[in-house]
Symmetry: C2
Subunit: 504 residues, 2 copies
C-alpha cells in the first residue's frame, strides 16, 4: 500500500510537470518540478513510469477523424473548384524552409515561428504561411508570371483557441497572381474569388473589408507619425477588430511613444468605412489629398470598386480605414473577410468566429529573395478553412445528416459457413472490375452481422453467395434499404452493381 501511495504521488507530480510544460511556464519553475519528479521516481525505483506518458497530440493541434475528414473534403472541393475555375495551376513546397528565408518577413509575428532543433546541418523553421515560400519559389526559379494555388498546413506558436477554430497547425488555401499587369485587374479577381467561395459554402452573411497600405501610410504621415514608426503603428491599428480604440491608443502612445495628438488624428480616420462615396470624399480630404501615397492608393481603390461593380459584388465589400493586416510584406491593397453572424439557428452555442479569409498585394517580397532585387508584383488571398470547418462541423452535428465515411458499393457476404474462399474469389473479381467492395474479415461471419455492417456504414448493396447460388451460377443481390433480393447471373453482376450505384 505504501508503494501504491508513492506511485500515486509520482503520478501527481508528473501531472504538475505536464501542466507546467503545457502552460509554458517559466523554464526555471519547470526545471525545479522536474527535478522533484525525478527524485521521487528514483526513491520509488522499479518499473514505475512505464506506459505513463501523456497520450495526446501536441498543444494546438488535433487529429481529423473519418467523419471530420469527410466534411473537410467538402470544403476543399469547393475551394479547389473555385481556384480551378479561375485558371490557377498548383504548386507545393516543403513544410520547412531555411530559417533565414523566413527572417524579416513577418514583423512582430516572427516570434511565433517554430524552429527546428539544430541537429547539425542547416537551421530550419516550419513555414509560417504559404506566401513567403511562394515568393522564395518565384525568385529561385526566376518565374515572373504565374497564377497558382497552394493548399497546405502552416505553423504558428500562437495561443490556440481551438473551440473558435484557432490552432497552431492549420490549413491555408492560397491563391496568388504574380506578374506585371494593368492596375487592379488581378486584385479585383482575388476579391471575386473570396466572394464566390464564401457564397458557395453557405456560411451565412459575410463582409469583405478592403483598405490599402498606401492609404494607411499616407494617413499616418498626415497624422504626424514619424516614418520609422509606420509599421509598428500599423500593427497597433491591426488590433482594432479585437480590442477597443482606447486600448489601441494606449499602446500607440504608451508603448510605442506616439504623441497623443497624432493618435487622436488616426482615431478619427480609422472610424471611417463605406464605398465609392467615401473614396470620393477622401480624395477631396484637404490633408490626405496632398499626400502622394494616399492619393495613389485612393485612385486605385476607386478603380477597384469600378471593377467590383462590374462583378456585381460591391454589396458585400466595405472600404474600411481600420483594416491594417498584421504582416509586414503588404504594399498595396489589403482585404479581410469576416462572417457577420451565424445562419444556423439550431446550434445552441454558436462558435464565435471572425476572419475567414485575408490577403493583399505584396510587390516587394519576391525582390527580397532575388540576388539583384528584381521585383515581381504579386497579389493573393488566403482562405482560412479551420474556422469555416468549425462552423460546418457544428452544423452537421446539429442536423440529423448522416455522413458516409466510405464509398463502398457492395458487401460480399455469405449466409452459410465454409464459404470464405468463394467470398474471396468473388470480391477479387469485383475489385479487378473497379467495384468498391468489402468483406468481413471472418471465416464464418453471421449473415445478420454482415447486414448490420451495411446498415452502420451505409453500404447500399449486399452480394450473397451460397451453395445453391454457386450451383446455379448466380449471386443473390440484396438492396439494403428495401431488403429486396434478386438473383443475378454471375456474368452480369458487375454491370448490375454499376447500374444500381451510378447515382451515388
Amino acid at each position: 500500500m505504501a508503494a501504491e501511495a508513492a506511485a500515486a504521488a509520482v503520478r501527481e507530480q508528473a501531472e504538475v510537470v505536464r501542466r507546467l510544460k503545457q502552460d509554458e511556464a517559466e523554464p526555471e519553475r519547470i526545471a525545479k518540478e522536474v527535478a522533484k519528479l525525478l527524485e521521487m521516481k528514483a526513491q520509488l525505483g522499479g518499473e514505475e513510469g512505464k506506459h505513463k506518458f501523456v497520450l495526446k497530440t501536441p498543444k494546438g493541434t488535433r487529429d481529423y477523424s473519418p467523419k471530420q475528414m469527410a466534411i473537410r473534403e467538402r470544403v476543399f472541393t469547393a475551394i479547389i473548384n473555385c481556384f480551378k475555375r479561375h485558371g490557377a495551376e498548383v504548386i507545393d513546397t516543403p513544410v520547412f524552409e531555411l530559417k533565414e528565408t523566413l527572417t524579416g518577413k513577418y514583423g512582430e509575428d516572427s516570434k511565433l515561428i517554430y524552429d527546428l532543433k539544430d541537429q547539425g546541418g542547416e537551421l530550419l523553421s516550419l513555414r509560417y504561411d504559404l506566401t513567403v515560400p511562394f515568393a522564395r519559389y518565384l525568385a529561385m526559379n526566376k518565374i515572373t508570371n504565374i497564377k497558382r494555388y497552394h493548399i497546405a498546413k502552416v505553423y504558428r506558436r500562437d495561443n490556440p483557441a481551438m473551440t473558435r477554430g484557432r490552432y497552431r497547425e492549420f490549413y491555408q488555401c492560397d491563391f496568388d497572381i504574380a506578374g506585371q499587369f494593368d492596375p487592379m485587374i488581378p486584385d479585383a479577381e482575388c476579391l471575386k474569388i473570396v466572394h464566390e467561395i464564401l457564397s458557395d459554402l453557405q456560411l451565412g452573411d459575410f463582409l469583405i473589408k478592403v483598405n490599402d497600405r498606401r492609404i494607411l501610410d499616407g494617413m499616418f504621415a498626415v497624422c504626424g507619425v514619424p516614418d520609422s514608426k509606420f509599421r509598428t503603428i500599423c500593427s497597433s491599428v491591426d488590433k482594432l477588430d479585437k480590442v477597443p480604440w482606447e486600448e489601441v491608443k494606449n499602446e500607440m502612445v504608451g508603448e510605442k511613444g506616439l504623441s497623443p495628438e497624432a493618435a487622436d488624428r488616426i482615431g478619427e480616420y480609422v472610424q471611417l468605412h463605406g464605398g465609392l462615396d467615401l473614396i470620393e470624399q477622401l480624395l477631396q480630404d484637404p490633408k490626405l489629398s496632398q499626400n502622394k501615397l494616399a492619393k495613389e492608393g485612393l485612385g486605385d481603390m476607386k478603380l477597384l470598386f469600378e471593377y467590383l461593380t462590374l462583378f456585381g459584388i460591391t454589396g458585400k465589400i466595405s472600404f474600411d480605414l481600420s483594416l491594417a493586416r498584421g504582416l509586414d510584406y503588404y504594399t498595396g491593397v489589403i482585404y479581410e473577410a469576416v462572417l457577420l453572424q451565424q445562419q444556423n439557428d439550431h446550434v445552441e452555442d454558436p462558435v464565435s468566429i471572425g476572419s475567414v479569409a485575408g490577403g493583399g498585394r505584396y510587390d516587394g517580397l519576391v525582390g527580397m529573395f532575388d540576388p539583384k532585387g528584381r521585383k515581381v508584383p504579386c497579389v493573393g488571398v488566403s482562405i482560412g478553412i479551420e474556422r469555416i470547418f468549425s462552423i460546418l462541423e457544428q452544423r452537421v452535428e446539429a442536423s440529423e445528416e448522416k455522413i458516409r465515411t466510405t464509398e463502398t458499393q457492395v458487401l460480399v457476404a455469405s449466409a452459410q459457413k465454409k464459404l470464405l474462399e468463394e467470398r474471396l474469389k468473388l470480391i477479387s473479381e469485383l475489385w479487378d472490375a473497379g467495384i468498391k467492395a468489402e468483406i468481413l474479415y471472418k471465416k464464418n461471419p453471421k449473415l445478420l452481422n454482415q447486414l448490420q455492417y451495411c446498415e452502420e456504414t451505409g453500404i447500399p448493396l449486399v452480394a450473397i453467395v451460397g451453395e445453391q447460388e454457386l450451383k446455379d451460377g448466380v449471386v443473390k443481390l440484396r438492396d439494403v434499404a428495401t431488403r429486396e433480393e434478386v438473383n443475378i447471373r454471375r456474368e452480369n453482376l458487375i454491370e448490375e452493381i454499376r447500374m444500381r450505384t451510378s447515382q451515388l
Copy 2:
C-alpha cells in the same frame, strides 16, 4: 576595388560555412569557420551580406512545379481510388508528435528523427512515418476496429539521394486494417492492394517479397543467436538488398559479436526464396519445425499463399527469407515490393530504383500507447510515391506528351481596345455559371497575344467580344485547334461552352 575584393572574400568564406553546414561537418569546425566569417564581415562593415543568403529549399527537400503536381495528382488518384475500392476511411494527424510518442518505436533508425527546438512548452518531433501516429490515434480514441488510409508527408534526416527518389521530406500513402480478425484475411488484402496499385500505375515488372518476423526469430533461435541480439541481427539482415552477404556477415560477427558459425547458419537460410513449395519444405526442416514461433509463422504463411492464390496474384509474390524490414514494431508478416526493371526503353539514363512499397503486421504497437497495454492487432502497407513519381516524371519528359496544368475551358478575349469592362462583365457571368474561364490582365491586350496564351496553356475555346458582337447580342466563339469561329447568342453561350468541353 579593395572593398570589392574584401566583399568577394567574405562571400567565399560564407560559401565555405554554407558547405560545411550542408555536409553536416563537425560542429567545432563549423563554429571556427563561422567565427572567421563574422570577423571578416565586421572588418568590412556596412551593408555587406544583404541579399546574400542562399536561395534554396532545405537539404533533401524540393518544390513541386505545376507540371510535377499534375503528374503527382495522377499517382495519388490511382492510389486513393484503390484504397477507396477496398472500403477505407481516411484520417489525418498533426505533422509533429510529442517526442516521447516516437521514442522507442524505430530501433536503429531513431537517430534520423527531426526534433523541434525547445522554445518553451512541449518537446516535439516531426513524424517519421504514419504508422506510429496511427497507433497513437487508436489508443487515444480507444478505437479497436478501423480500416483507414492516410496520405501525408513524413520526415527522415537520412542521406538524401534525390535522383533516385530518396528525400528527407516525402509522401507516404498508408492503408491499414486494425482489429481482431481471423488469420491472414486482412494481410492478404494488403498484398492485393499493393498488386493492384503497381499494376494500375504501369511501372513495369515488379515483385512483392514476403516474410514473417516469427519465421526470422525462429530462424535466429535455431541458428544460435541469443534472444537479446534478435532485433539487431534482424537490422543486419535487412541490409541484404543493398550490400552483399559477406559485408552483412562481417557486421554480425565484427560489430554485433555474433559467432561466425551462427552467422553462417543464417547465411544458408537467407538465400532461400520461393512459393508454397518452399513453405512446405521449411515446415519439414528438422530444426525450424521444432521452433514454435517459426512453425506458427510458416503455418500462417501457407494460409496467406492460399488466399493469394484465390486472388490470382501469386505470380508476383516471393516468400523470401532475406526480407527483414528495418523497423522494430513488426510482429508477423512483413512485405516489400520492388520494381524489377524499367519498362520504358526510351529513357537513356534509367533511374536506379528499389523498394516502392512495404509493410507488415504490428500487433504490439497500439498496446505500447494504451495505459493498460491493451493490444489492437494491425496490419498495413505503405506506398512510397517518390520513387514512383521519379519514374513517371522521367517517362513524361522522354515522351512528347504535353501535360496541361490548368483546366480552363475558355479565354474571354476582345479584338478591339477599350473593352475591358465588357470582358469583365462576360467572365463574371461565366464564373458564376461554373465555367472555368480566364482573361489576360491587360486593359487592351492584342488578339494575337490572347490566342497565343490559349495555344501555350491548352485552353480549347476563346469567347471574343467586339463592338459588333455587343450590338448583335452575340459572342464569337473560336475553337483554338480548328480556328473555326461562330457567333453564339449570348444567352446560349454557357450551354455551348459546356457542351463543347464536356469530354475534356
